[in-house]
C-alpha cells in the first residue's frame, strides 16, 4: 500500500514535469508578453530591448524554463506581465470565486443526477425514463454556451423586456462580498453547469444501477422477501454507486480549473476566465500558475481516489 502510494507520487512528479515543460514552451512562444508596450510612444526600441533583457526574455528557452521552475518549486510563481501583480495573489483572489461557483454546481448536479438516475433505472422504459434519457442525450450533445446564451436571452433580456424581475448577466458592476448579489449572479451560471453536468452523470447512475439490479444477490434479496425499497437503497444502490464515486473523485480537481466558457459568458471572476484572459496575451507566469495548480490537484486527487476506493470497496487491493 505505502509502496504503491510512493510509486504513484513519483509518477505524479514526472507527469507534472512533462506538463510544465510542454506548456511553458508553447505558452512562452505563443505571444509576446510585452505586446502591450508595442504601441507605447514613450518607449524607444532600445528601452524595449533593455526591458526584455532585464526580464530574461531573451535567454535560451531551457534557461527561462529552469528559472521559472526553480522559483515555482519554492512557491514563487512570479509576476504577471500585464497586471504586474504577483501570480499567487491573482490566483488567491480568483480561486474562492471559482470554488463557490463550482462546488455549488457540483453538489446540486450530483444530487439531481442520483435522483434522476435512480428514477430512470427503477422505471426502466417507462415514459419518465424515456423523458430523462432524451433530456440527458440532448444535454450531453450540447455545447454549454447554447444554454448559457439561451438563459441570458430568456431570463435577462426577455424578462426585462416583459417587465418581470430579471436576473443579472454579469455585465454589470457588482460586489462579490455582498451575499445577496453573489447569489443573484450565481443563479444563471450554476443552472447552466447543472444542466450540462446532470446530463452526463445521470446516464452513468442509470446504467450502473441497472447492471447491479440484474445481479444474483439482488434476486436473493427479493427472494427472501425484502421490500423493494430496502432492496434498492440498502443492497443495490451501495454497489451501484461505487463507479460513480470514482468518476466524481476524478472530476473534483477539475473544479479548481473552473468553467472557462461559462465564466467568460457570465463575466464570472474565476480561474477559467483568468486563464483565458491571460493566455490570449501570452502572459506565461499566470498561465503556468493556473495550469500548475490544476495539474497538481489532478495528480493528488487521482491518488486519493485510488486509495479511498480500497476503503469503500474491500474487494479491491492496490499493488
Amino acid at each position: 500500500m505505502y509502496a504503491y502510494i510512493a510509486r504513484r507520487v513519483v509518477q505524479g512528479f514526472i507527469t507534472l514535469l512533462i506538463i510544465t515543460v510542454f506548456c511553458f514552451i508553447l505558452t512562452r512562444l505563443s505571444a509576446d508578453p510585452l505586446a502591450q508596450y508595442a504601441t507605447n510612444p514613450n518607449m524607444s526600441a532600445a528601452d524595449k530591448e533593455a526591458l526584455r533583457e532585464r526580464l530574461g526574455l531573451n535567454d535560451p528557452m531551457p534557461v527561462q524554463y529552469f528559472r521559472w521552475l526553480s522559483l515555482a518549486i519554492r512557491g514563487d510563481m512570479g509576476y504577471s506581465f500585464f497586471s504586474k501583480q504577483p501570480v499567487a495573489l491573482m490566483i488567491s483572489q480568483r480561486l474562492p470565486m471559482t470554488l463557490i461557483l463550482m462546488l455549488t454546481a457540483e453538489t446540486l448536479t450530483i444530487t439531481l443526477a442520483l435522483l434522476l438516475g435512480i428514477v430512470s433505472a427503477v422505471r426502466q422504459y417507462s415514459w419518465v425514463d424515456n423523458l430523462i434519457t432524451t433530456f440527458s442525450f440532448i444535454g450531453f450533445s450540447m455545447p454549454i454556451f447554447f444554454i448559457a446564451l439561451g438563459f441570458i436571452l430568456i431570463f435577462a433580456v426577455q424578462f426585462k423586456a416583459w417587465g418581470l424581475p430579471y436576473l443579472p448577466t454579469g455585465a454589470d458592476i457588482w460586489d462579490p462580498k455582498d451575499p445577496v448579489e453573489l447569489a443573484r449572479h450565481m443563479v444563471l451560471p450554476v443552472a447552466c453547469l447543472i444542466f450540462i453536468g446532470t446530463a452526463g452523470y445521470s446516464r452513468y447512475v442509470r446504467s450502473s444501477i441497472l447492471e447491479v439490479l440484474g445481479l444474483d444477490y439482488v434476486r436473493t434479496a427479493r427472494a427472501k422477501g425484502l421490500g423493494e425499497r430496502s432492496v434498492l437503497y440498502k443492497h443495490a444502490l451501495r454497489n451501484a454507486i461505487l463507479p460513480f464515486i470514482t468518476i466524481i473523485g476524478l472530476n473534483i480537481p477539475y473544479l479548481v480549473a473552473g468553467a472557462l466558457v461559462t465564466e467568460s459568458v457570465y463575466a464570472w471572476p474565476g480561474m477559467g476566465r483568468l486563464f483565458w484572459e491571460y493566455a490570449q496575451r501570452g502572459d506565461f507566469p499566470v498561465v503556468m500558475g493556473v495550469l500548475l495548480i490544476v495539474s497538481i490537484a489532478v495528480v493528488i486527487f487521482a491518488i486519493i481516489t485510488d486509495v479511498a476506493y480500497t476503503f469503500i470497496d474491500p474487494r479491491i487491493r492496490l499493488s
Partner: protein, 317 residues
C-alpha cells in the same frame, strides 16, 4: 435408431445456431435493431443532403457577402434565418459553416484515431520502458482540462495564419490549425482503450502461434492486433467525431478557431454572444440547433455501434 438420433441432433444444432453469420453480419444485425441509432443515421444523412444541396444552390461568395444595410435583421422571407452583425445571411453561413465544421471533425478524428491507435498499440505491445514513457505522456495530457490544452496549443500554432487554397476555394489557414489542434489533443482516451485491449490480446494463443511462425512485429501489429481492436476503435472514432465537432465549436466560439470570413458553426456564435443582449436570438438559435442536432445524431449512432460491437448485448438479436 442411430440415424434417427443423429438427425435430431443435427436438427437441434441447426435450429439453435440459425444461418451462419460472419461477425460483421452479426454486428449489422444488432445495429439495425437499434432504433435510436438508425434515427441518428437518418438525421445525419438528412443533414449532409441539406449541406450538399445548399452548397449547390448558394455560392460561398453569397454566404460571405457583407450587407451593412441589412445588418441584424430578424428572420424574414429574404433572410430565412436573419442576418448577423455585418448583414451576412445566417442561412447561407449555416450551410458553409456546416461544411467546415464537419470537415474539421472528420479530419481531426482521423488524426486522433491514428495517434491513439499507434501510441496505445505500441505501449501495450512493447510494454516496459516504452509503455511507461508513452503512458506518462498520455497521463500528462489528460491532467490538463481539455479546453485549456486546446487554448495553449491553439495560441501557439495560431501565431501565423495564412490562407490555404484547395480546390479553387480559399480557406483561412486557421481551419488547418484547428484540425491539428483538435487531432493532437484528443487521442488519449483511445490510446488507453487500445493499450488495454492489446495487453490482453498479447497473451492469447493465436498471437503466440503467429510469433512461433516467425511473423514480424509489424505483421502481428497490423494484421492481428489492430483488426481485433477495430470495434473499440470504430466506436471511439464515431463518438470522437461528435467530440471534435463540439471542440471546434468551443474554440471557434472563443475566437481561437476558424477565423471569419470563413464560416463555422462555432465562429457564427462568437458575435452572437455580444448581440444576444440586444435580443438578436436568431444569431444564437440557428447555429446552436444545428450543432446540437449533428452531435446528437452522431452520438446516437456511436451508442448503437457500441451496443452492436459488444458481444454481450445479445438481447438485441
Amino acid at each position: 435408431m442411430t440415424s434417427e438420433t443423429t438427425n435430431i441432433i443435427n436438427l437441434d444444432a441447426e435450429a439453435a445456431s440459425g444461418p451462419h453469420l460472419t461477425p460483421s453480419q452479426l454486428i449489422w444485425r444488432r445495429f439495425r435493431k437499434h432504433r435510436m441509432a438508425l434515427n441518428g443515421v437518418l438525421g445525419l444523412a438528412g443533414l449532409i443532403m441539406f449541406i450538399i444541396i445548399g452548397s449547390i444552390a448558394i455560392s460561398e461568395k453569397q454566404a460571405n457577402e457583407v450587407d451593412l444595410k441589412a445588418r441584424l435583421s430578424p428572420p424574414s422571407s429574404e433572410h430565412w434565418m436573419g442576418t448577423d452583425s455585418t448583414g451576412r445571411d445566417t442561412f447561407s453561413r449555416i450551410i458553409y459553416g456546416g461544411q467546415i465544421s464537419i470537415i474539421i471533425g472528420i479530419l481531426a478524428v482521423t488524426i486522433s484515431v491514428t495517434i491513439g491507435t499507434v501510441i496505445g498499440g505500441m505501449a501495450g505491445y512493447f510494454g516496459g520502458g516504452m509503455d511507461s514513457v508513452l503512458m506518462r505522456i498520455t497521463e500528462a495530457m489528460l491532467s490538463i482540462p481539455a479546453l485549456f490544452l486546446l487554448i495553449v496549443l491553439g495560441k501557439y500554432l495560431g501565431r501565423e495564419v495564412q490562407t490555404i487554397n484547395i480546390f479553387g476555394r480559399s480557406f483561412s489557414g486557421s481551419v488547418g490549425i484547428v484540425i491539428i489542434v483538435i487531432g493532437i489533443t484528443s487521442w488519449m482516451a483511445l490510446a488507453r482503450i487500445v493499450r488495454a485491449s492489446v495487453l490482453s490480446l498479447r497473451e492469447t494463443d493465436f498471437i503466440a502461434a503467429s510469433k512461433a511462425l516467425g511473423a514480424s512485429n509489424q505483421r502481428i501489429f497490423f494484421s492481428h492486433l489492430v483488426p481485433n481492436t477495430l470495434g473499440a476503435i470504430i466506436v471511439a472514432a464515431t463518438l470522437g467525431l461528435a467530440a471534435a465537432i463540439l471542440a471546434e465549436a468551443y474554440v471557434s466560439f472563443l475566437g481561437l478557431g476558424v477565423q471569419p470570413p470563413t464560416a463555422s458553426w462555432g465562429n457564427m456564435l462568437t458575435s452572437a454572444q455580444a448581440f444576444i443582449q440586444k435580443g438578436a436570438w436568431w444569431m444564437w438559435l440557428f447555429p446552436c440547433v444545428f450543432i446540437v442536432f449533428t452531435i446528437l445524431c452522431i452520438n446516437l449512432m456511436g451508442d448503437g455501434l457500441r451496443d452492436a460491437f459488444d458481444p454481450r448485448s445479445g438481447r438485441n438479436l
